[in-house]
Symmetry: C2
Subunit: 198 residues, 2 copies
Amino acid sequence: MSGGEPLERVIELLSRLPGVGRKTATRHAYHMLRKGEGYGLELADALTELVQETNLCTRCQNYARASLCSRCADGRRDQARICVVQGPQDVTVLENSGAWNGVYHVLHGVLAPLDGVGPEELKIRELLARFPGEVPIEEVVVATGASVEGEATAIYLAGLLSPMVEVTRLARGLPAGGDLEYVDGPTLQRALEGRQPL
Amino acid sequence: MSGGEPLERVIELLSRLPGVGRKTATRHAYHMLRKGEGYGLELADALTELVQETNLCTRCQNYARASLCSRCADGRRDQARICVVQGPQDVTVLENSGAWNGVYHVLHGVLAPLDGVGPEELKIRELLARFPGEVPIEEVVVATGASVEGEATAIYLAGLLSPMVEVTRLARGLPAGGDLEYVDGPTLQRALEGRQPL
């Protein structure tokens, strides 16, 4: 087709992103074209810089531009408390919430034996290597998701870490603003099990 | 945040695409990172080539890599019949259907006075410039969409072109495989108005 080869390549590459089919990829590619050369070159440049200059923080395994990420290098953060998350996005979510002032550890996945993801595929060895640590670590909050895999990973980590440190996990219960009638059964069950004195 | 500036730039640029919010853009950016340097550089390269080497065909105004696109330059296509479409994607759809062997003219939009899109904003002057043409043009099929703007554009073009050439438009009616009970009122009305002898 006219526009030819690079258009086809852009469409093919974009359609490898999760949730992006060929139709969406085609629409995106045409929009990139329509936005003009400036936009396309800026995106290409940012992308090049992103993939070339990003590595994993040697401590928390989050994406970073230096060997130690800005949070691990930040003396004002509580370096004695580690929040363990599945992926880098979770760090962003927690940071945006403003609810956590400790540091992080990014597993880059959860245990999923059926998909061939065992402990070796996650950054668990790197987590263990953080002990005892320059600053003695007082608490590890396991903040994996509430899926079966997330729960299994939390239990596995608790088994490894509890001899060395206090291990906690995020509370399960009603989401903020959630009306009871819209809450699913398992969530309600967790909320009841975890009920607190008023 | 760590990963910092280029990540933020990629997210910001991706979120300018239609239908892509900040959340989706963030997910895409992280996936580009996770896919590794090879993927990111390949996409950046294809994108650079795409925006730098793509121009508009001087005749049909579709995206092309040469001054004349492959279809306008193809002697095996019926150069006497022009199908007028809103955008380059429509050319792809028609080509994939295998239903058209003529050439195209891409308007790059439809008339939308409320959005400030008048005839000057579309490639209408370039359409008129194709007459009389090296090969005398026998038919113009207006294949704009069935929206209000698409219909208005078709009527406007018919007014301009009918003194010079036969102007037709795509039939309106039931979509192939469409059960009557799922068809909306206006479509049904068009199908009745355009009923054909059996």
